[in-house]
């Protein structure tokens, strides 16, 4: 009996590595600490009422952001571990199996559990406020999306200490990811972690499309919609066309693994190329999904901090919309070397290049927004300015990759790694950081310390170039991706070593950011105006942090940069827009169901990973039960009475 238990434990828990024991201890201690703090300060009720059951878009947004920053840390630690292993030839720091797990989790976490949720967090924070709306279209669904993401991410991360992680790359090409070559549970953790959070992403996509189309403030015609909101719309359109394909692809891979189906296996008629074909139908649009909102953020910031209207509004919108649709027609550029023949390669090479055109137009419009403006260098703007050269260079190398016959020499080399980090970090991460700094006061009511922020900015930037520029040359010198070590004879170590230094510099930049946040919380610089940056759009017209109902009375929009124009009018001595009398505000009630349902999904995923139907089936029943409970619940909303609104508004005004 005891032996059986021992056997089980050593199979169930990942063992044999100090790193993992370290993680086990860290996780255990953190959990104990959290439980202790919550109990000691009697915060369990608060946690449940204010966070776990909330459907308020602002809180959901904050939860997304906290979770994704933690994931940035996890993914970043993975990156630094990899870079350490690659710093010298023949390093013994990580063995091959371990290295393979780490780059796989690094890729998955960074894109799916860092970039996506950080993006959704910013959607949640900013979009309803920019629209002048009380919440998103479907607040309940919104909370559910968050919890699904969260549980999916937990499931995926758990594999580090339980059962073992996936190790066949962030897109898990079969047959390597099939049972025949990856018999462990890691690959199933991968499938269910992504699948569960993917459902959440799809629902968020739908939610925000409806929000933007149906909930714009009166008077906000399409030509007056703020650019970030436009970018969210284009990103969400891409989500709804791309994610269903991911759902199918992963489901089929799971059927292969669980039921012995033969979609992508080597034998039984399976065809792994079909998987590659399908995963990129999602994978390529995915990278534009994450970069389009960054474009939106840059647009807001560039015009705010240049104190000038955004240049070429119509062009900008058109460019984004065409990128989001065009992104669906380029997927084959990730497997030019599969040998599909010249016609196919050429078609997809050209569709890929075409994307450079609208992207370039956006760059020029940003430049000409600054042109004849007055640029102030606050942290959000610094990240924005740094983005331009970085993304342009990364985009150019993307164009080089898109030349199919040249890609035969770039494919799967460090040239490619350098390309995508340059667009992902220079575009996506810089963009989201910029957004985070920009909307931080709106979220929490205080500003982040600018001085430490600038340190973090410079360290990140220098670190970035030191880390990734050498990788272009490594690629051209024949170094392929996903190698756990290399020999001295290759002549790669100087560049690799440099790259590692750059990686650690970025890590240092991250530490500065953590310090910045801690410092700013301690020496709180309150934002009493609600408009710390002299903003242009509606979110800056209300107090920081925004009250529960956002707008006491629904704003009526008359101009593109409505709040800016309003301020101009007031400055010119004209009367502000009249505000209608207060009315009771209709609000959605909190609900425990999103949280509970996501836990049930977690159980389904966990049960299926280990083939334990006794967990999966109750989980599935729980999912249906919570769905029905929601369907039968007709008591989903309430009204905030006028006097309460008055009290809240007065308090906010007193703060000013």
């Amino acid at each position: 009996m005891l032996d059986q238990i021992k056997d089980f434990m050593s199979w169930f828990f990942v063992t044999g590595d100090p790193l993992i024991y370290g993680a086990d201890v860290a996780i255990g201690l953190t959990t104990v600490a959290i439980i202790f703090v919550l109990s000691y300060f009697k915060k369990w009720g608060w946690l449940w009422r204010e966070w776990l059951t909330t459907v308020d878009h602002k809180r959901v947004g904050i939860m997304y952001i906290i979770a994704s920053l933690l994931m940035l840390f996890r993914g970043g630690v993975d990156a630094l571990l990899m870079r350490t292993q690659l710093a010298f030839p023949d390093m013994q720091f990580l063995n091959a199996e371990h290295y393979n797990q780490i780059f796989t989790t690094h890729g998955v976490i960074m894109i799916l559990f860092m970039a996506m949720p950080l993006m959704f967090g910013l959607f949640n924070i900013a979009v309803p406020l920019q629209l002048g709306a009380r919440d998103v279209a479907f607040p309940f669904l919104n909370a559910l999306s968050f919890w699904l993401f969260f549980m999916g991410a937990m499931l995926f991360n758990m594999s580090f200490v339980i059962g073992g992680s996936a190790d066949s790359g962030w897109l898990a090409y079969p047959p390597l990811s099939e049972m025949s070559h990856s018999p462990g549970v890691g690959q199933d953790f991968y499938i269910w972690g992504i699948q569960i959070s993917g459902i959440g992403s799809l629902m968020t996509g739908i939610n925000f499309i409806v929000t933007i189309i149906k909930m714009r403030a009166p008077g906000m015609t399409w030509s007056k919609v703020p650019m970030f909101t436009w970018s969210v719309l284009s990103s969400c359109i891409t989500i709804i066309i791309a994610f269903p394909v991911l759902t199918v692809t992963l489901a089929l891979l799971f059927l292969d693994r669980y039921l012995g189906a033969h979609f992508f296996t080597m034998d039984g008629g399976g065809n792994s190329m079909m998987y590659i074909n399908m995963i990129w139908m999602w994978g390529h649009p995915e990278v534009y999904i994450v970069v389009l909102p960054a474009f939106g953020i840059f647009s807001e910031i560039v015009s705010t901090f240049s104190k000038k209207r955004l240049f070429g509004y119509a062009s900008m919108v058109f460019a984004m919309m065409s990128i989001s649709v065009m992104s669906y027609f380029t997927w084959l550029h990730h497997f030019f070397t599969m040998g599909s023949g010249a016609n196919v390669n050429l078609f997809f090479a050209i569709t890929t290049m075409i994307i450079a055109i609208p992207t370039g137009v956006k760059i020029f419009n940003w430049l000409f927004t600054m042109f004849r403006g007055r640029i102030s260098f606050s942290t959000p703007m610094l990240w924005t300015i740094a983005f331009i050269p970085c993304f342009v260079v990364g985009g150019m190398t993307g164009v080089m990759l898109s030349v199919a016959p040249a890609d035969f020499q770039f494919h799967n080399s460090y040239f490619l790694i350098a390309h995508f980090h340059q667009v992902l970090i220079g575009g996506v991460v810089f963009g989201y950081f910029a957004g985070l700094y920009y909307w931080w006061p709106k979220m929490f009511g205080f500003k982040l310390n600018e001085k430490i922020g600038k340190w973090a900015f410079w360290i990140w930037n220098i670190g970035f170039y030191v880390c990734f520029m050498p990788q272009y040359f490594l690629g051209l010198d024949g170094m392929t991706r996903r190698v756990s070590s290399y020999g001295w004879d290759k002549g790669w170590w100087e560049l690799n070593f440099t790259s590692t230094i750059g990686g650690f510099l970025m890590g240092l930049g991250f530490i500065f950011q953590v310090w910045q946040i801690a410092h700013s919380i301690k020496f709180m610089e309150k934002d009493t105006t609600g408009d710390p940056w002299n903003g242009r759009t509606l979110e800056w017209s209300i107090p920081s942090p925004a009250p529960l109902y956002n707008f006491a009375t629904t704003p009526v929009v008359t101009d593109r940069d409505d709040w800016w124009e309003e301020k101009e009018r007031i400055a010119a001595g004209q009367a502000p827009k009249p505000k209608p009398a207060l009315e009771p505000i209709h609000m959605p009630r909190n609900s425990a169901l999103p949280f509970l349902q996501s836990i049930c999904w977690f159980l389904v995923g966990f049960g299926l990973v280990f083939h334990w139907l006794w967990i999966a089936i109750p989980g599935l029943i729980g999912v249906f039960a919570t769905m029905l409970a929601h369907s039968f619940n007709y008591n989903t909303d309430y009204y905030i009475p006028v006097d309460e609104i008055e009290r809240t508004e007065a308090a906010a005004r007193r703060a000013i």
């Binding site: 309803p128 709804i240 199918v248 039984g268 008629g269 009315e583 209709h586 039968f632």
Partner: protein, 212 residues
């Protein structure tokens, strides 16, 4: 009465002042939900298109085993098809009844619809059971994997539809025809018509072109 007009995100009241009919806020909200559901259906279209792509690409990969020609039994399939077509019609009639305010008619036609749906599922399950009994399972070959998955996913959708309409019937019985239940009926019927449309493609591509 002004209360519901100032609904989250629905700004009719702010624009037009107070004094609306109480239903209006709800009306907008329900319209929004229908639109959301419509987008969900579009994503489902894409989901099925991916399954179709897989089926079309893999249907010849039979690993030496039987292909569609060898296993097909048209009578059952034809029956399934007409049953589903009819159920799409009856779910339309249910909506008509609802628009006339006839709760009884509405529930009646909904019951007919789910009964037809259940027949459809019954036939499909019988077809699958027979195949499995003959030793053709999802792991027999890529062709069978694709076949069972495509047809089965549709079947799963229909089964969920049945459960869902049942839930709506209970709500109708309790609450009557209100804007909320009305929206639910609309959405389920949209879903049902959509499944019918998907089936037409399953029928054409998998079965008809399979025997051709």
């Amino acid at each position: 009465m002004a209360h519901s007009a100032n609904h989250l995100g629905t700004h009719a009241a702010a624009a037009h002042g107070a004094g609306h009919d109480g239903h209006d806020g709800h009306h907008d909200l329900e319209e929004m939900r229908k639109f959301g559901f419509w987008i969900f259906l579009i994503t489902d279209v894409i989901l099925f298109s991916a399954l179709f792509a897989v089926y079309i690409v893999l249907h010849g990969n039979t690993a030496g085993g039987p292909g569609m020609k060898d296993i097909i039994e048209m009578p059952g399939i034809i029956a399934e098809t007409f049953i589903l077509l009819t159920s799409s019609f009856t779910s339309g009639l249910a909506v008509l009844m609802m628009n006339r305010g006839s709760k009884g008619g509405l529930i009646g036609w909904l019951i007919v619809t789910i009964a037809l749906g259940a027949c459809f599922i019954g036939l499909e399950v019988a077809e699958f059971a027979k195949l499995i009994h003959e030793g053709h399972t999802i792991s027999t070959s890529a062709f069978f994997s694709a076949f069972f998955t495509l047809v089965g996913t549709h079947g799963l959708h229909v089964s969920l539809g049945i459960c869902w309409i049942t839930a709506v019937i209970f709500q109708l019985a309790r609450h009557g025809i209100t804007p909320v239940t009305q929206r639910k009926v609309h959405i389920t019927s949209l879903y049902w018509h959509f499944l019918d449309a998907v089936w037409i493609f399953v029928f054409t591509i998998v079965y008809l072109m399979g025997v051709m």
